[in-house]
């Protein structure tokens, strides 16, 4: 999986370099700047995550969002995703770490999707633009989309 990413990046980088050196350097500069500006966030997430991984017993973890957690795991993941506000830059590494821990993809999808499409904490902002009723309707519809997608994930990828 990583090899594809490495090859794609290298090929595009070389192509970009041949086409326009200055643009390529400014792209690399942007990349480095972004990575640096987020490095603390990554460090923090990794530190907290690895600590939690050690102190939370395996069976607790497994019974809440592990392979055997089923619908309970989906509900927890949906709830957690709806309630939290974090950039994808943090959510996807967490998702990858959960995958390594053996958490099924459909539960990871429940978390990342609800995070992206449902906003409980950001509701006041949404309300300002759409009005309370429509904002509620939009979030409920988004929840339906999350649930349907989770079902698809379960069918395609299984446990």
């Amino acid at each position: 999986m990583n090899i594809g990413l490495w090859i794609l990046t290298t090929v595009l980088l070389i192509y970009s370099f041949i086409k326009d050196k200055a643009k390529t350097f400014s792209a690399l500069k942007k990349a480095a700047k972004k990575l640096w500006s987020m490095s603390y966030l990554f460090f923090f997430v990794m530190a907290v995550f690895s600590f939690l991984l050690v102190i939370v017993p395996d069976y607790t973890f497994d019974s809440y969002i592990g392979a055997g957690s089923g619908i309970k795991g989906v509900i927890i993941a949906l709830g957690f995703g709806s309630l939290s506000v974090m950039p994808g830059f943090v959510a996807f590494p967490i998702g990858a770490a959960l995958k390594i821990q053996g958490v099924p993809l459909y539960i990871i999808a429940a978390f990342t999707l609800s995070l992206m499409t449902i906003g409980v904490v950001t509701f006041p902002i949404e309300k300002k633009f759409l009005g309370t009723r429509i904002a509620i309707v939009r979030n409920i519809l988004a929840m339906f989309v999350c649930i349907i997608t989770v079902v698809f994930f379960k069918m395609v990828f299984g446990e």
């Binding site: 999986m1 990583n2 594809g4 990413l5 490495w6 990046t9 595009l12 980088l13 970009s16 643009k23 390529t24 400014s26 792209a27 690399l28 942007k30 990349a31 480095a32 972004k34 603390y40 990554f42 460090f43 923090f44 990794m46 530190a47 995550f49 690895s50 600590f51 050690v54 506000v85 950039p87 994808g88 830059f89 996807f92 998702g95 990858a96 770490a97 995958k99 390594i100 993809l105 999707l113 992206m116 499409t117 906003g119 950001t122 902002i125 949404e126 300002k128 633009f129 759409l130 429509i134 939009r138 519809l141 988004a142 989309v145 349907i148 997608t149 698809f152 994930f153 395609v156 990828f157």
Partner: protein, 172 residues
């Protein structure tokens, strides 16, 4: 400034905790260190590449070009363009709301606007690059294939119901 000191303090605290744990053979600390190292290696295999891709994307493809074409919002074309526009948006949904207000002011239909609000959550390109890097291409493909049609449908349904009811966007 103070936030910076807190950050440095936390990083040092964590490093000291891990190093001490190895020195005094404290199991929880050692395991945390091992797990941290493992995750760090995995991240380093992905992060630089994902960010370079995002950098290339930002340099080579301009958002302005997309916005310029949004004048054509007739029929299916409108949905196509807001799909692209959503791909170019940054930040979370809280950025999409002000943008949808702009679309509304420029005369986009409510159907197109609500489709945009749905798309904005799911297909931002930098985020998608990141998702593919960490969770794999099959994950992203399944997610997009299911969510895009659903949010398109929601946009059309919600938009046409609200148009019938004479819904007005709240403009500050």
């Amino acid at each position: 400034m103070r936030g910076r000191y807190i950050k440095i303090f936390f990083v040092l605290l964590f490093i000291v905790f891990i190093v001490l744990s190895y020195l005094i053979e404290y199991k929880t600390g050692k395991d945390t260190g091992d797990a941290f190292f493992h995750v760090l290696v995995e991240m380093l295999k992905i992060l630089p590449f994902a960010f370079i891709l995002i950098g290339l994307f930002e340099v080579w493809i301009k958002k302005e070009t997309v916005v310029k074409h949004l004048g054509t919002k007739s029929g299916m074309k409108g949905y196509f363009w807001v799909l692209i526009l959503a791909g170019f948006s940054v930040g979370g949904l809280y950025v999409a709301f002000p943008l949808s207000e702009t679309l509304y002011k420029k005369g986009a239909s409510l159907k197109v606007i609500f489709a945009f609000l749905g798309f904005a959550g799911i297909i931002r390109i930098p985020m998608t690059i990141f998702e593919i890097s960490f969770l794999g291409l099959p994950f992203t493909i399944v997610r997009l294939m299911v969510t895009i049609p659903l949010f398109l449908l929601i946009g059309i349904l919600l938009g046409s119901i609200l148009e019938k009811r004479g819904f007005k966007f709240k403009i500050k």
